[in-house]
C-alpha cells in the first residue's frame, strides 16, 4: 500500500474539492486524487451560473426553487433531496463568496442573479460567463490553504473491496508510471460526467464516467442512466457549449425562415423553456428541414455590443475561435449536444452508496435532484451542497471506524490485469472503437429515441465490446502514459453505454430527456414514475426499479 488516509476523494472538480474541504474541516485526514490537476477539472467550463434562492434580484425562496426543480425533473427527482438542496443552497453560495469567489454584483453590491431556463425567478448567481472557472479556483485556493494533499495526475482504475466494504483505490501514476494502491476508510467518487459517450458533447476529454463504471464493477447500482441531457446550444462541429446565459440575457433562437420557432413549442417561456423542450424543438426543426446546415441560429445581435462584451465575453471568444462567427454581427449556429448525465451512482441524501465506505457526489452521482431533466445552474449547486454533505458524512464515519486493509492479492490481481493489456502486441488501437461508439450513440440514443434504434445500438455496443477485448496500447512506457489510461477509459465508456441502452429500453414512456415520440409519446406516471436501477451481473447489465420520493408535489402536466 502506497499510503493510507481516512478519506480519499476521487476527483477534484467542484464536488470533489468541496467534499475534501468538508472532511478536512471535521478533522479527518483527507486526500484528493485526480487524473488531471484539480483546476483543470471540467467544472471550470461551467459558464452560466449556480442556483440559490438568495432573493437578490427578486422575491425568492427555497420552496419556489424546489418546485421549479421538481417540475423541471419531470417529477422523477427525489423531492427530499431537492428540498435539502434548495434549503442549503443560499448558505452554501454565501460561503463560496466569503471564501473569495468573484461573483458579478447587483447595484447594491450583492451577488447578482440572472434568469435561467424553467426557473420562476432570476435565481442563477453568476460570475460573468466564467462561473465554473471562478468556483474551481476558489475551491482550489481553499484546498491550498488547508494543505490538503492531492495525488495529481493519478488515474483511479479500481476500487478496493475487502471485508464487504470499500477500503481504497488502485490508481495508475501518470507521471511516474506504475499502479499505486491507496488505502482509505471511506472513498468518495466525484469523477464527473460521461459526455464522451457522444460525438457532439460539451464535455471535456476527461469526462469518461470513470467513477460510475468503477462503482458498477464492484456491484453498486447506477440510477436513471438513460437520462442524458442534450443542451440546446452547442457549436458545430465539436459541441463546445454556448451558455444558457445568452438566452437569460435575451437571445433569440431562429430557424432558417428567421422565425422564433419556440412559439410553436413553448409559447410562454419561449427561449427560457426547459432544456429538453428546446432541444426537441430544435431537433424537430432540423429534421423537418428548417435548419441551417443541421443547426438553428442563436441570435444575440439585438443585445448590443456593450452587453455582449460585458456579460458574454467568453461566449463571444468561443464563438469566434470555434465557429468563426462574431455574435455582435452574426447569429451563432447551434444544435443540441450531449451535456449532462442526470443518471449516476445511486446514493442516499448523504451521498452514501449501497456499499459500506463508498460515497458519490456531483455529476457522477444520482441523488437524485435532477430526475429526468436538470435545470441550468442546478448542477454546480448540487456539486457544492452534496459534495459538502458527502465529505462530512464520510469523514464522520471514517473517524469512528479505524482499520484499513488493501490485501496484497487485490494489488496482484490488478497488476496482472493491467500487464495483460500492456503486453498485448497486436490488435486494434482504441480510437476507431471510441469514435464509432460516440457517433452511433449520438445517432441512435440521442434527443429522440426509437425502440428499433436502441436495440440496434445494443448490438453495436456488444460488437464494440468484443473488439475492445483485443485492443492494443502503443505506449509501453512508464512516463506520462496516457495512451494506457485512454484505453482504460474506453473500457469504462463501453459498459456505461450498455447500461444506458437497457435502461432506455425499459422506460416505455417519454419523460424529460428520454423522448420516445414514435411509440410512447406520453409520460406514464402510473407505471414509470420510478427510477431505473441497473446493476452488472454475468457480464451484462440488469435493470431494476426503485421508487421516487414524493414529499409535497404531486405530478402535474409540464408545460412552459
Amino acid at each position: 500500500m502506497e499510503a493510507k488516509h481516512d478519506v480519499l476523494v476521487v476527483g477534484a472538480g467542484c464536488a470533489g474539492m468541496r467534499a475534501a474541504i468538508a472532511a478536512h474541516d471535521i478533522g479527518a485526514d483527507v486526500a484528493l486524487i485526480s487524473k488531471i490537476h484539480p483546476v483543470r477539472s471540467h467544472s471550470g467550463a461551467a459558464e452560466g451560473g449556480i442556483n440559490a434562492a438568495l432573493g437578490n434580484a427578486s422575491e425568492d425562496d427555497p420552496e419556489k426553487h424546489a418546485f421549479d426543480t421538481v417540475k423541471g425533473s419531470d417529477f422523477l427527482g427525489d423531492q427530499d433531496a431537492i428540498e435539502i438542496l434548495c434549503e442549503a443552497a443560499p448558505e452554501d453560495v454565501y460561503e463560496l463568496e466569503r471564501w473569495g469567489a468573484i461573483f458579478s454584483r447587483t447595484e447594491d453590491g450583492r451577488i447578482a442573479q440572472r434568469p435561467f431556463g424553467a426557473a420562476g425567478e432570476p435565481r442563477t448567481a453568476y460570475a460573468a460567463d466564467i462561473t465554473g472557472h471562478v468556483l474551481v479556483h476558489v475551491l482550489y485556493e481553499q484546498v491550498m490553504k488547508r494543505e490538503i494533499p492531492a495525488y495529481e495526475e493519478f488515474f483511479a482504475w479500481q476500487l478496493v473491496i475487502d471485508d464487504g466494504r470499500c477500503q481504497g483505490v488502485i490508481a495508475w501514476d501518470l507521471l511516474n508510471g506504475g499502479l499505486k494502491s491507496l488505502g482509505a476508510k471511506t472513498v468518495i467518487l466525484a469523477t464527473g460526467g460521461a459526455g464522451r459517450l457522444y460525438s457532439g458533447t460539451t464535455n471535456a476529454y476527461a469526462c469518461t464516467g470513470d467513477g460510475m463504471a468503477m462503482a458498477l464493477r464492484v456491484g453498486v447500482p447506477l440510477k436513471d442512466m438513460e437520462m442524458m441531457q442534450f443542451h440546446p446550444t452547442t457549436l458545430a462541429p465539436t459541441g463546445v457549449l454556448i451558455t444558457e446565459g445568452c438566452r437569460g440575457e435575451g437571445a433569440y433562437l431562429l430557424n432558417s425562415e428567421g422565425k422564433r420557432f419556440l412559439e410553436r413549442y413553448a409559447p410562454n417561456a419561449m427561449e427560457l423553456a426547459s432544456r429538453d423542450v428546446i432541444s426537441r424543438a430544435e431537433q424537430t426543426e432540423i429534421d423537418e428541414g428548417r435548419g441551417v446546415d443541421g443547426n438553428v441560429l442563436l441570435d444575440l445581435r439585438h443585445l448590443g455590443a456593450d452587453r455582449i462584451h460585458e456579460r458574454l465575453h467568453g461566449t463571444r471568444e468561443l464563438s469566434m475561435v470555434f465557429a468563426g462567427v462574431d455574435p455582435i454581427n452574426e447569429p451563432i449556429p447551434v444544435r443540441p449536444g450531449a451535456h449532462y448525465h442526470m443518471g449516476g451512482v445511486d446514493t442516499d441524501v448523504w451521498g452514501k452508496t449501497s456499499l459500506e465506505g463508498l460515497y458519490a457526489a456531483g455529476e457522477c452521482a444520482c441523488v437524485s435532484v435532477h430526475g429526468a431533466n436538470r435545470l441550468g445552474g442546478n448542477a454546480l449547486m448540487e456539486t457544492i451542497t452534496f459534495g459538502r454533505r458527502a465529505g462530512a458524512h464520510a469523514a464522520e464515519w471514517a473517524l469512528a471506524n479505524t482499520t484499513v486493509e488493501v490485501p496484497p492479492s487485490v494489488e496482484a490481481d490488478a497488476e496482472r490485469e493491467l500487464r495483460h493489456l500492456l503486453d498485448r502486441a497486436d490488435g486494434e488501437r482504441p480510437w476507431a472503437i471510441r469514435d464509432e461508439l460516440a457517433r452511433t450513440m449520438h445517432e441512435n440514443f440521442g434527443v429522440f429515441r426509437r425502440e428499433q434504434l436502441m436495440r440496434g445500438q445494443g448490438d453495436i455496443v456488444a460488437g464494440l465490446r468484443e473488439r475492445y477485448q483485443r485492443v492494443v496500447v502503443d505506449d509501453k512506457g512508464n512516463v506520462f502514459n496516457n495512451d494506457l489510461t485512454q484505453a482504460l477509459e474506453l473500457g469504462f465508456l463501453l459498459e456505461l453505454a450498455d447500461c444506458m441502452i437497457v435502461s432506455g429500453l425499459a422506460r416505455k414512456e417519454s419523460r424529460g430527456a428520454h423522448a420516445r415520440p414514435y411509440d410512447f409519446p406520453e409520460r406514464d406516471d402510473e407505471n414509470y414514475m420510478r427510477h431505473t436501477l441497473v446493476a452488472w451481473a454475468d457480464d451484462r447489465p440488469r435493470v431494476d426499479w426503485t421508487p421516487v420520493t414524493v414529499t409535497k408535489w404531486q405530478p402535474q402536466e409540464r408545460t412552459y
Binding site: 466569503r98 471535456a204 429522440f448 434504434l453 512516463v479
Partner: protein, 373 residues
C-alpha cells in the same frame, strides 16, 4: 452503415486538409531529443490539439501532451508553436496550412520537460502557493451573508480572475530565464487578484512580500507574458499595478520602487529620463560608480545623453501633464493604472526598428516579418 440516418439526416463528408507539423519529441528516460515530421489528414476546422490527437491515434500512440476541456478554459494544453507558447486548443490550423507553413511544436519553456510536450508544472505551482493565494479578510468580521462590494470595486481584478494557470506566460518570461526563483507573471497576477480585492485585508503583508527579492521589481518588462497570455490576463499589467500599489502604500524599500519614483521625478523636471542620474538616485553613489563603466559604454554608443547641462525636452509642459496624470494614478494606486502598457510596448518595439507589428498580432506559425520590412 449507420442505422440512425433516417432521423438525424446524413451529413455530407466534411472537407479536410493535409497538415504537416514537426514535433520535438523528448524521452526523459533516455534523455533523447528528436525533431520529427508528421503529415496527417485533418478536418478543416481542426485546431492544433485535434491534429495532435490524430497523430496520437493513428500514427504514434506514445506521443505525450496534456488536454482536457478543448475550449480554452482548463489550461492543460500549453505548448510552444514556432518558439512561442500557445494553447493547442486555441490555434486553428487552416491558415497555417494555407500558407504552406510547417510549424514546429515543442514543450513550454522555463519548466523541466517530462516527456514530449508535457512539462513538470511543480515549480509553477509552488510559486502560486508562495503567494498565499486565498482570501484573508484580516480583522474584518465576516458578514452573515455575502460581502458587500460594488461591481466597480471588483472590476480592477477582473482580468486577473481570467487566469487559467496554463503557464504560457511563464514559459516565455524573460526574467525567469535568468532567475528561476523570480515569482513570475502568473503568480504575481494571482497576487494582484488578492491585493486588488476589496474583501482582502492582507494587502500590506502581500505587497511587502511581493516587493522582496525575486519579486515585482525583478520583472524586466519584456512584455512577453502579455503577448503570450491566451486569456488576456496581461500579467505584466498586474505587476505594474502591484508596483503602483506598493508606491502608494509607501512600500519602496526595493530598488525597483526607488527607480520608478526617480523616473517620475526626472521626467517631471526635465521632460526626459535623466538616465545618468537614475542609477545614483536609486542605488546610491557607491554602486553607481561600479556601474560607470557600463554607463560610459552606453554613452559611447549614443544611448545616454551627457549629464550636463540637463537637457530639457521641448515639450516639457506635455511631460509635466503626463506626470500629473501619473501622480493622479499613483494616488489611486492600481485603480489608476491605464491598461495601456501593451500599447506602449508596441510603440517601443517599432521605435527600436524591430518588428513593425506587435509580436502578439503575428499568428504563431507565421514566418516572422523581416525587421524594417
Amino acid at each position: 452503415m449507420s442505422i440512425g440516418t433516417e432521423i438525424t439526416g446524413g451529413s455530407a463528408p466534411e472537407p479536410t486538409m493535409e497538415v504537416a507539423i514537426k514535433i520535438w519529441r523528448y524521452d526523459s528516460q533516455t534523455g533523447e531529443r528528436a525533431l520529427k515530421l508528421y503529415e496527417v489528414e485533418a478536418p478543416e476546422w481542426a485546431c492544433l490539439l485535434d491534429v495532435l490527437d490524430i497523430i496520437k491515434d493513428r500514427v504514434d500512440g506514445t506521443l505525450a501532451y496534456r488536454k482536457s476541456c478543448r475550449m480554452m478554459i482548463c489550461g492543460s494544453c500549453g505548448m510552444r508553436m514556432d518558439g512561442g507558447a500557445v494553447l493547442a486548443c486555441k490555434e486553428r490550423m487552416k491558415p497555417i496550412v494555407d500558407r504552406g507553413h510547417v510549424p514546429v511544436i515543442s514543450a513550454m519553456g522555463n519548466m523541466p520537460i517530462v516527456k514530449d510536450l508535457v512539462v513538470d508544472m511543480d515549480p509553477f505551482w509552488s510559486k502560486i502557493r508562495a503567494m498565499k493565494p486565498w482570501l484573508q479578510p484580516g480583522y474584518q468580521e465576516p458578514p452573515e451573508r455575502e460581502y458587500l462590494a460594488s461591481q466597480e470595486q471588483m472590476n480592477p481584478i477582473h482580468k486577473e480572475a481570467l487566469c487559467i494557470m496554463c503557464g504560457c506566460c511563464v514559459s516565455e518570461c524573460n526574467s525567469m530565464e535568468s532567475d528561476p526563483d523570480f515569482l513570475g507573471p502568473a503568480a504575481l497576477a494571482k497576487g494582484f487578484r488578492f491585493v486588488g480585492d476589496p474583501r482582502d485585508g492582507a494587502d500590506i503583508e502581500r505587497l511587502n512580500e511581493y516587493n522582496s527579492e525575486h519579486g515585482i521589481w525583478d520583472c524586466t518588462r519584456c512584455y512577453f507574458c502579455n503577448e503570450r497570455c491566451p486569456k488576456g490576463v496581461d500579467p505584466r499589467d498586474a505587476i505594474a499595478k502591484l508596483g503602483a500599489e506598493s508606491v502608494r502604500q509607501g512600500i519602496d524599500h526595493d530598488l525597483g520602487a526607488k527607480h520608478a519614483k526617480w523616473f517620475v521625478t526626472s521626467t517631471k523636471t526635465t521632460g526626459w529620463l535623466r538616465e545618468t542620474e537614475l542609477v545614483p538616485k536609486t542605488q546610491g553613489i557607491v554602486s553607481a560608480i561600479k556601474q560607470t563603466k557600463f554607463a560610459l559604454g552606453l554613452a559611447r554608443r549614443g544611448k545616454v545623453p551627457l549629464p550636463f547641462p540637463p537637457h530639457v525636452a521641448e515639450e516639457v509642459r506635455e511631460a509635466r501633464a503626463l506626470h500629473d496624470l501619473l501622480k493622479e494614478q499613483n494616488r489611486r494606486g492600481a485603480a489608476g493604472i491605464v491598461q495601456g502598457e501593451r500599447g506602449l510596448a508596441r510603440i517601443e518595439r517599432t521605435d527600436e526598428g524591430g518588428a513593425k507589428r506587435d509580436i502578439a498580432e503575428i499568428t504563431p506559425g507565421e514566418e516572422p516579418a523581416a525587421a524594417g520590412s
